[in-house]
């Protein structure tokens, strides 16, 4: 019994045993015929071949080896991984399972990791024999990988260690290593997670770093953010079409936060974009979204809007980004760049300045992801480590504290700023995030606009982003935990889940962000987070926990 190729999908023919020819004479004759036909040639070389022996082989399939014991007393294993036997197959047939797909699922034959490569043919044979049908009429189960055997060569190899996965490092990486940072993988990037001192555990380090950043000064390596250089006479129009808010009137030298949607209206990425000159912008994206955003924007430029005069160039790796934040950040920056006027009038929040540090050009943005007074210094990567060290040195008198991604996440949560990808999951519209303010009412179109008033996206009971406070301020919720309204009625309706959760040292209580059905209207409502050993009482609040006016 064998599989005979029926029709060829491509320009190919099957010859020899793969076409069901097992005897030499048959093979030679048929092969010559089919090759001649396929290549449209006449090749008679084979005709006069003298075949000395072409033994008729007795072909017989043995699906089940005979035994002197009655079948019920034997264990004729069929699927060696799932331990199903020929008896199981026969039982299935007696119980009325006829389709091969049903027999497979009833007996689990062919459902192990080999996907039936060892057992399926025998199972088919036994079914055919028992049921008295032809094997060809039974059909086969759906083929699933591995379709073909894997060579051992593909599996065996030396331990490649660090080459197992690609790593990306920031230009300041070596400093983090020297200063004993713990690292976190963010996509392929190695990012400093937190910087433990002595025997500190993660919680202790993060609490210390968070407090220092708000009380005096903190320093963060933000080099991993995606950066896209945008030039061209239609650059402003282009931004109007890709972000939900309006860009034409952004003054030169100013920065603006933008939210990018998918065509289905769901939040895709976010970041701050700076207008460097009339037709020149620098866009930042999330760390993880950088490559996808660039590819998506290129897609629109090449296929939907070829009429726009816009050019995109990735400059993610060209710049290292040193972010200093906290009430003393201004004093530190004035030591680094003495000539720069840092007054609110000259250098307000959401603006940028070109500057020189020891004669090296850099761009300083006054933007903030922590809610604190803060600056981001963008300088070509070869000098980033040196600038970092300079800031650290200058900040020592203010107890400048290096902080990692965990503290960054905590600080932004205190201010209710979202992280695209953590508080959003591809099902959240800007309205679900309570960010109605960022959607321009005047713009005729932007990516995803039409989807914001589909029947599904205007539903009021969609899951919406809210803040959560625990009744016991020391209780920290688990990210991903489910939220319910009542615990005694079964089945319990899940209203949503926790997306971000931290203990805030600056508020001295636990805070969390969550997405909850109809959450916008439930402010003040008491809900429950059932955990394995206890139920935690929570209250829905605003998403902004810390509202220092800066």
């Amino acid at each position: 019994m064998f599989f005979l190729p029926d029709k060829s999908e491509l320009d190919q023919i099957s010859v020899g045993s793969c076409n069901g020819d097992f005897e030499l004479e048959e093979v030679i004759k048929n092969t010559a015929n089919s090759i001649n036909k396929f290549l449209k040639v006449k090749n008679n070389d084979y005709e006069n071949l003298e075949i000395i022996s072409s033994k008729e082989i007795d072909k017989k399939n043995i699906w089940l080896l005979p035994s002197d014991k009655p079948l019920g007393k034997t264990k004729p294993f069929l699927d060696f991984q799932n331990d199903s036997t020929a008896n199981d197959i026969k039982l299935a047939l007696r119980e009325g399972f006829k389709s091969i797909e049903h027999v497979k699922r009833y007996t689990t034959t062919g459902m192990a990791t080999d996907q039936g490569k060892l057992s399926n043919m025998h199972a088919l044979g036994i079914i055919a024999e028992t049921a008295g049908v032809k094997m060809g009429e039974l059909g086969t189960t759906t083929f699933r990988p591995p379709y073909t055997p894997l060579t051992f060569g593909a599996i065996v190899g030396r331990n490649v260690g660090e080459f197992f996965d690609i790593t990306r490092r920031t230009p300041i990486h070596d400093w983090h290593v020297e200063n004993k940072a713990e690292f976190e993988n963010v996509g392929q990037w190695k990012r400093a997670w937190y910087y433990p001192i002595g025997n500190e555990n993660m919680h202790e380090a993060v609490q210390r770093e968070s407090k220092a950043a708000r009380d005096s000064a903190g320093i963060l390596d933000a080099s991993t953010l995606g950066k896209i250089d945008i030039q061209g006479s239609d650059a402003s129009e282009f931004l109007n079409r890709v972000y939900t808010n309006a860009w034409s009137k952004l003054e030169i030298g100013k920065c603006r936060y933008g939210l990018m949607l998918n065509e289905d209206g769901m939040v895709y990425d976010d970041g701050v974009t700076t207008r460097l000159s009339e037709n020149h912008y620098l866009m930042t994206t999330t760390t993880g979204g950088a490559a996808n955003v660039l590819s998506k924007l290129e897609d629109y430029l090449q296929t939907e809007w070829p009429e726009l005069d816009v050019y995109l160039t990735s400059v993610t790796d060209h710049y290292g980004t040193v972010s200093i934040c906290g009430p003393n950040s201004k004093k530190i920056l004035s030591k680094i760049i003495p000539g720069l006027d840092l007054s609110d009038k000259e250098f307000p929040h959401m603006s940028f300045k070109n500057a020189l540090i020891d004669n090296i050009k850099c761009r300083v943005m006054r933007i903030s992801f922590t809610g604190e007074h803060s600056y981001e210094i963008n300088i070509q990567a070869s000098y980033a480590k040196s600038v970092w060290e300079k800031c650290y040195e200058a900040g020592k008198e203010f107890n400048i504290t290096p902080y990692g991604t965990e503290t960054m996440h905590l600080l932004r949560a205190e201010k209710g700023f979202i992280i695209a990808g953590q508080d959003t999951d591809g099902t959240m519209t800007p309205l679900d995030l309570q960010m109605d303010w960022i959607i321009s009412k005047k713009k005729y179109d932007f990516i995803g606009k039409r989807s914001l008033y589909r029947s599904d996206t205007i539903r009021e009971d969609r899951k919406q982003l809210v803040g959560l406070l625990t009744e016991d301020p020391k209780e920290i919720l688990e990210e991903g935990a489910q939220i319910v309204a009542e615990t005694n009625k079964q089945p319990i309706e899940m209203l949503g889940h926790v997306t971000s959760s931290y203990f805030s040292p600056n508020l001295n209580k636990s805070i969390a962000l969550a997405v909850i059905k109809n959450g916008k209207k439930l402010k003040g409502q008491k809900l429950f987070v059932p955990m394995k050993n206890k139920t935690i009482n929570v209250t829905i609040t605003d998403t902004v926990f810390l509202d220092k006016k800066k």
Binding site: D309, T313, D317, H318
Partner: protein, 186 residues
């Protein structure tokens, strides 16, 4: 003074392969579509912009690599002063971007340049590239963008058995280690 630092600054020799990081050189990304852009670039740099796919053109100082129908990559042969980089960038930016002919972006630190020399360099690349080097290796000035060990690279075949490879800075330390590891087996 700020200290200049690069992720590799090393040079290694194996049998028939020598690999070394070359820094710092000017690297500028150029984009544009119309005729005026092409003419202007040629005039400013005294090099003809290569319009045939996978090719480059060079003079004694600079190389211009074709990346796509509207994108080119410019780099210098020799180490160069930062001041000169800035002035070349500014000059091109004013002549191209300011007058809306295209875009000019300094990517000097976005890319790390690694020089590979020796008769076995194509074997080393083939160990991690899906690209077919058969025709490439004998044609001087050929350019390709492909993957090496799953990392995006630009490869410029300066001369036979002497090529420059560009990799994004953040990937460069990893790729450098991979190249050294692979070179041992060739």
């Amino acid at each position: 003074m700020l200290k200049f630092s690069t992720p590799i600054s090393d040079s290694k020799e194996y049998s028939e392969i020598k690999i070394s990081e070359v820094e710092p050189i000017i690297k500028i990304n150029l984009r544009g579509k119309n005729r005026d852009f092409i003419t202007k670039i040629g005039k400013e740099l005294s090099i003809i912009l290569p319009v045939d796919p996978n090719t480059s053109s060079s003079n004694e100082k600079l190389n211009l690599l074709w990346l796509s129908p509207d994108e080119w990559f410019l780099y210098s042969n020799d180490k160069i002063d930062l001041k000169d980089t800035n002035s070349l960038e500014d000059k091109l930016f004013n002549e191209i971007s300011k007058v809306k002919l295209g875009s000019v972006t300094n990517v000097s630190d976005h890319w790390i340049m690694i020089n590979l020399k020796g008769t076995k360099v194509y074997e080393l690349l083939s160990a991690g590239c899906p690209f077919n080097f058969n025709n490439f290796k004998n044609s001087n000035g050929a350019v390709t963008q492909t993957l090496l060990n799953h990392i995006d690279v630009i490869i410029h075949n300066k001369n036979v058995n002497d090529l420059n490879l560009f990799v994004r800075r953040s990937f460069s330390a990893h790729l450098w280690l991979w190249m050294n590891d692979s070179a041992r087996f060739i």
